[in-house]
Each structure stands twice: as C-alpha cells, then as structure tokens.
Symmetry: C2
Subunit: 190 residues, 2 copies
C-alpha cells in the first residue's frame, strides 16, 4: 500500500500509539489501514464412497486437483462461502455438514476452512475455474497431482477418519487443526 | 475505497470478467482490490472452575465484559493470535487447546474463533484495552454485562459442555458453529 484508499494521500509505515505493529497510516486523513489474513473456504463434497475434486483451470497450480474452495466474500458466512464455491467451481449443490479442518497458511496470509458436505444429487460440471470435475474413491485420488498441502492433509484426515468410523455420528466430528509451513508447499511445475 | 492503494488513481466499482461481484477496480493500473471478512481470534482462558474475562476499556462496548479476543494479524496463525490477544488484553499466559467455537458475524464482516485455553498460572492483569480482568465461576459470570453475542454463546456452550462432561477428553471436543445476525446484537448503552 502506497496511497490511502480513503483520500488518496501517501501512506507512511508507522506504529500507532497503543499499538505494537507497524501499520500503513495516511499522511493526510490519518486513517490507520489494517491488513489481515483472508479465509479460504471449501468443502469435501461426498457422494457414496467418493469425493468430488476439481482440476484447476487457473494459476496457481493450474492442472492440479483441488477440493472446491475460494476466498470468503463480504456478507456471507463461512458455510455459505463454502457452498457457493462448490457450486461455482464444481457445479455441485451440497448440504453443508460440520467443520472438518482449519489450517493456517501464514506465509500466504490465509486460513483454510473445509466443511464436510453431501452432494444432493450426483450432478456436477466444471465451472470457469475448473478444467474437469470428477468423483474419486480413495484408491483413485490423484495424490501426486494435488494442488495444495491443505487439500492433501484434509483428504488424508477424511479417509483416515472414515476408516476409523469417526464420521458416522455427525454431531461428534472433531475439527482437525494444523498449520502449513512454507517448506510444506507442494512444488510448482507451472 | 475511493483511491487505488497501489497507484493513487481513482477506483471504479465494476464486475470484472469471469467474476460475479462488483469490485473496486483501479482506473489507472487496473488492479482489482478485493475486500474480505476478517477473523477475530480469542480464548476461553480457564483456571480450575473459573473463566477469565476482561472489562473493555475501548469502544465499542466500553465497560462490558468479554473473552480476550482481537483481529488476527498478518503472519500469525489463529492459535498464535488467540494466545497473543490473551496476553495483551488480560496479561495471561495460556496453553491453547482445541477450537471451541466459530461464529459468523456477517453484518460486521467478521468471523469469530474461540479456542479453549488453560492459564499456565493464576496470574493476570488488565492490558491497555481492559479496565479490569477477573476470574469468574459460572454463577458469577456477568451475563447481563457481556460485550458481544459471540462471547455469550461461547460461554453458554462452555458451561453446558462442562456440565455434560464433554470437555473431559481434549481430543474429542466438538467445535460449536453458529451465525450471529444483526438482530441478535446486544443493545449498546454507549
Ligand atoms: Zn487518507
Ligand atoms: Zn491503481
């Protein structure tokens, strides 16, 4: 940030009184402009014993597979955002279940949240941000072609919990929590 | 937003190609400036059968009691943010436990996340944003003087779960999920 979004004056990096961090402070109107991490919300869309994945049509990680997910928008809840992204990217209508994973990805200033979700019908189609959309059983998941570590971890937890019978009672599902470091990122081919 | 934070030109509200929402788009450098909800992270700091609350020294809700919580900062995880806020507002060092509640407060563009936490020692003191900090047992919680509905709901869930023995096994704690509407806000006296 170089200019104040409110008045157009230049901003200065300084630590406001009673604050402990440097902020962008406007040299004109004195507004303090805070910057915060953003939420990426998505689903694990399930149909019978399969999970719906999308092959990305956009950068980063174009051509790699992901769970449907995207930035939470102003005015929507995390559940509604996850549902919208599933419809936009995978053309699939889902019923949202419990929060399944929360992963901090601090090096890209993001928090990733994935909800368990049930496909209402086995209908889906690639949206503009997807090249393909497909239902995968565990043995067919393209583990080496997943787009993001948060997706890989969430899928691993999902199939593990399923095996252990931990997904049978919807009101007893425990949210998985983890942080993903810079060194855990999946190497980019693109 | 009226001016581009990157180049200082005026911004125009328009829907970019392949997007479904109006964004602030720069008339000069064409950058699309996205706005997203922010995370407020906090703890339920527990010592024996008591919970630590802070009386707010700042607006909004000055003079009302809250769980320690504040905006998640760039570069920190939700757990680290919750821990930092507990230290800043309540002068208390905590060990962070599982995610206990996630509440969407869409009308103020926030997501509130509260973690269970254990005080490491029964030491605490009001930070600059607090007038007082105090340990309360359930019967003494100032229910009519709580600052925010997300705090009230989280405390209600906490004492309910405690009574039901649901907090005994740390690895089986189920995260409470809810949305708080505009009509559920606690009326302001200030
Ligand atoms: Zn300004
Ligand atoms: Zn610009």
């Amino acid at each position: 940030m170089k200019y104040c979004p409110t008045c157009g004056s230049t901003v200065i990096l300084q630590t406001p009184e009673d604050d402990t961090r440097e902020r962008h402070v406007c040299s004109g109107c004195k507004t303090i402009h805070y910057e915060n991490p953003r939420n990426v919300v998505g689903t694990i869309p399930v149909w019978q014993d399969k999970v719906l994945l999308c092959k990305r049509a956009i950068h980063p990680r174009l051509g790699y597979w992901t769970l449907p997910a995207g930035f939470l928008e102003i005015g929507e809840s995390t559940e509604d955002g996850a549902k919208r992204e599933t419809l936009e990217e995978a053309g699939a209508s889902v019923e949202i279940g419990p929060l399944f994973s929360l992963l901090n990805v601090t090096h890209v200033e993001q928090v990733h949240l994935f909800y368990l979700a049930k496909l209402i019908e086995p209908n889906y189609q690639a949206g503009v941000e997807s090249l393909e959309v497909e239902l995968f059983s565990e043995k067919d998941i393209p583990w080496n072609e997943l787009a993001f570590p948060t997706v890989r971890k969430t899928l691993e937890w999902y199939f593990q919990d399923k095996k252990l019978g931990r997904l049978n009672e919807t009101d007893k599902i425990v949210t998985h929590l983890d942080d993903v470091g810079y060194d855990e990122r999946i190497d980019r081919k693109h």
